[in-house]
Symmetry: none
Subunit: 400 residues, 2 copies
Amino acid sequence: MDFDLARQLAQENGTKILLLVMDGLGGLPHPETGRTELETAYTPHLDIIARESACGFTVPVAPGITPGSGPGHLALFGYDPLVYNIGRGALEAVGIDFDLQPSDVAARGNFCTVDGDGRITDRRAGRISTERCTEIVAELRNIAVDGAQLFVEPVREHRFVLVLRGEGLSDRVSDTDPQAEGAIALPALATAPEGEATAALVNRFVEGSKAVLTDKHPANALLLRGFAKRPAWPSVTDVFKLRPAAVAHYPMYRGLARLVGMQALDVGPNLEDTVATLRENWDRFDYFFAHYKHTDTAGEDGDFGRKVAKFEEVDEHINALLALEPDVLMIAGDHSTPAIMAAHSWHPVPFMLRGKNTRADECKMFGETALLRGSLGTFPAKEALPLAMAHAGRLKKYGA
Amino acid sequence: MDFDLARQLAQENGTKILLLVMDGLGGLPHPETGRTELETAYTPHLDIIARESACGFTVPVAPGITPGSGPGHLALFGYDPLVYNIGRGALEAVGIDFDLQPSDVAARGNFCTVDGDGRITDRRAGRISTERCTEIVAELRNIAVDGAQLFVEPVREHRFVLVLRGEGLSDRVSDTDPQAEGAIALPALATAPEGEATAALVNRFVEGSKAVLTDKHPANALLLRGFAKRPAWPSVTDVFKLRPAAVAHYPMYRGLARLVGMQALDVGPNLEDTVATLRENWDRFDYFFAHYKHTDTAGEDGDFGRKVAKFEEVDEHINALLALEPDVLMIAGDHSTPAIMAAHSWHPVPFMLRGKNTRADECKMFGETALLRGSLGTFPAKEALPLAMAHAGRLKKYGA
């Protein structure tokens, strides 16, 4: 929905909307059974919801487009992911609670392994531990370059964030990460004239890192990508008149939620923690984004059986979510991650909306084939929130 | 898909995409049987493809819009037909291999029959033979007008092309064809100030044609329409990183394909020729547009039975197309041409996509009612190519 229209029509009314995102929800049929992960899983509670809900599929970005986590979530938050685009570096920085300023430039960093010729032999440095990453990052903080203040922050395993702070910095800088093993790290280059000074600063940091990393095998080099500034976006409260909270354990999703003005609540790693945090904060907000990561991880690992098991784990907690009595419950995914592809994909994502005034349909279970009989059809993910608001009585009539 | 986004995400990978367009594919139920042309035809090979494919319908332009051949094809090539619009004259000129220059203005010409009062009694001059058309055109070439060089080229039967070449020409000129029998040919008028000089040149050509045509009954007058310049569009290669070839026998479709940068291969009139040309050129390109005309002609003639027979003819060649082993095969139409309407129509057009990683659906045969159970739903035709590219692994992930 157009944001000007949303501002004009949105109204507050005390109802509660709960969005459960199962990351990487959509799947593809197992070649031996013809059934997807979701269709293989025993999910009696989700199937009851399917019978009670308006069902369908969301298209995260556009037909054929495989979304990253950013666009996939922004669409479910009501933001057109082709308009509200965020660079990887900014997302990574915001996701670790780094207080990124509007003029800062952030990049995602990876430690990697290089051979004697500088060729990359492992882009992830054997996935060193987060502790080891933190130790190495501490040494990198001693690097100084004229013209900017540098911040280096550990993220998880081999990943870190580099932030440059200073006057006249630009994010028009190319990646040093060639994204291929066997290749040599690239110099940072300006992608527009205003990026030249920043590219030079980045290259000086990389140069300075060599003395630090030479004895840190397997983390004996670093790669940078996704140079980006923090976007200044309208908030969910401004546009949709909702008080939004995020219940997400992983940093990136907390960061995404903050970018649209959600309060990121403290929450533990398990579904019990998610339910407990929702329950404790139920009276303080009226829109809740609850994030479940493990379906995506299993899909990315190509582990069909584990993805099935993760759906069954979610299913066991559905009644606890229903006990909160949300006026509208959306069961959704940010994108598909079919285990047989071991990657994100472009396929439309299963979606259910349970609330008052839903139209009946012939969808009797939560699975990709059954959902084709849903009353919502296949629709852009950015329309999910307006639809939920309508069912919650939060959208006024348009026109006389 | 937005072209900037396509340029950003498209990647080459050696896969082959084959688009088979059955012109005028979609139909409507026969009043006696309740089955469409496609549902009446015995098409066992297409039905097998339906079971193996992601199925659905394309909307060529927008709901309710009946497309001409140009918009219908451009959409399937990935071009938004509301943005990439071409005038009839330019299409006709490009379709006969005329080397239309960017500053030329082209019009489609029809010979027609007029009575003693100049009233049109047959807009197609009894469909004179192409040979007769060529003879008359040769005489029209002797007409000279001050201010522009004129080219007159025969097309087929009663149709020809007029091209004006010179300084400061404009296509803001109205048709002389009233598109109604019983009416009198109209003068060409400027539809904007910059069209005035060109309109005057056109009227001088028409005036000059009278002496030539007076003894050429039934081709004793001419009508002009669709004044247009050649558009300068980005190519399929530029936008989608594909090496595209067109396997089309009819001039208009070859012309359309060339406008988006496809190489129009030499091909004979029959399906065997289509298959042979595809096979001979299979290694030279990675995107093939194969055009089959006769389903549309039968539909336009209101010949339900012949359209059924033409589907059965295509069906017999499906295995030869599969033998080429395309990574993605699309079976599509540029628009519907229901025999009971004897005209193009706005109805969504049957579509199947066969390739890796398609989601299962309940569509068991290639027919309008069965396709409603397809997993693709009803979607804009311009999204078909991005979808095919996704299945071919030719689109990178969007966003972090």
